[in-house]
């Protein structure tokens, strides 16, 4: 699949079939995450793959932003240094977000729907997954075979968000 087709075709999927996702597919997604860029190649991300029904059920209950039960979750965590400064904190967010996008595009290519969620109770997810104190769940990616085919949401025009040479100086396509 062409990368640009994946970028434009991917949708946030919030309704899934009951079909489980195979180990091979999950590992492919983890590989996609592993090859994401990270600041200073620090690779401070950690990935907890959740497929067991009781664990999935528990996470969903503490995630108001997740509406239906997915076949799996990948909880993207940051293995944080103690007393990380704001620059480091920003890096954790950026690195985990880039890894999430790799996961979502790789999933789309093999027919798996995804949605990235931030509306979950971090304290609860940390407890459920038994995360060490320095490991923070940054993003939760839901995964499953799509049971919906949503229309693309509107996008701002390029000339509203992109500028040439200076902010405000119009980008002309």
């Amino acid at each position: 699949m062409d990368v640009f087709d994946a970028i434009k075709g991917r949708r946030s999927i919030r309704q899934f079939t009951d079909e489980p996702i195979g180990k091979e597919e999950l590992e492919r997604l983890l590989e996609a995450a592993r090859w994401a860029p990270s600041g200073g190649n620090q690779q401070n991300w950690r990935f907890v793959v959740v497929t067991s029904p009781p664990q999935r059920e528990l996470i969903r209950k503490f995630a108001p932003g997740i509406f239906a039960m997915p076949a799996a979750f990948i909880v993207i965590c940051a293995d944080k240094e103690p007393d990380a400064n704001p620059w480091k904190e920003a890096l954790y967010v950026a690195d985990c977000s880039i890894a999430a996008q790799n996961i979502m595009l790789a999933a789309y290519e093999i027919g798996i729907g995804t949605c990235v969620a931030l509306s979950y109770a971090k304290v609860a997810v940390s407890e459920i997954l038994d995360l060490p104190e320095n490991v923070e769940p940054m993003l939760v990616v839901t995964l499953g075979y799509p049971a919906e085919d949503p229309e693309p949401p509107p996008r701002l025009e390029l000339n509203e968000i992109a500028f040439m040479d200076e902010y405000g100086k119009e980008w002309v396509s």
Partner: protein, 108 residues
Amino acid sequence: MTERMVVSEEDLYEILAFLFSSAHLLVNEPHLYGTFRLIDAATRLIGCALEGGELEDDKFLRQLKEDVDSRKLLLMTDEETYFQLLEDATREMAKEMKTRAVANKSSS
């Protein structure tokens, strides 16, 4: 209308987890998410009541849940229609409760 309705222990814990998590998250989330969490909690509660409970045949609640569930995600793409949903759902609740109140009064 006056019987005491009880949700199952499992449903109660699920709704409590949802409500506590929502309250915690809403400290930092956009304020409109608060409206969403409330109607989402409402339809989850309706779902519990409809699933094998005494209210299984309640057509009004079933329809209301369907209406709200089908339009609630418009919060993300079409705020005006979403606001209309909040108004519609409230109006429908009021109409239904008024009808029930009148029926109760005339039967007593």
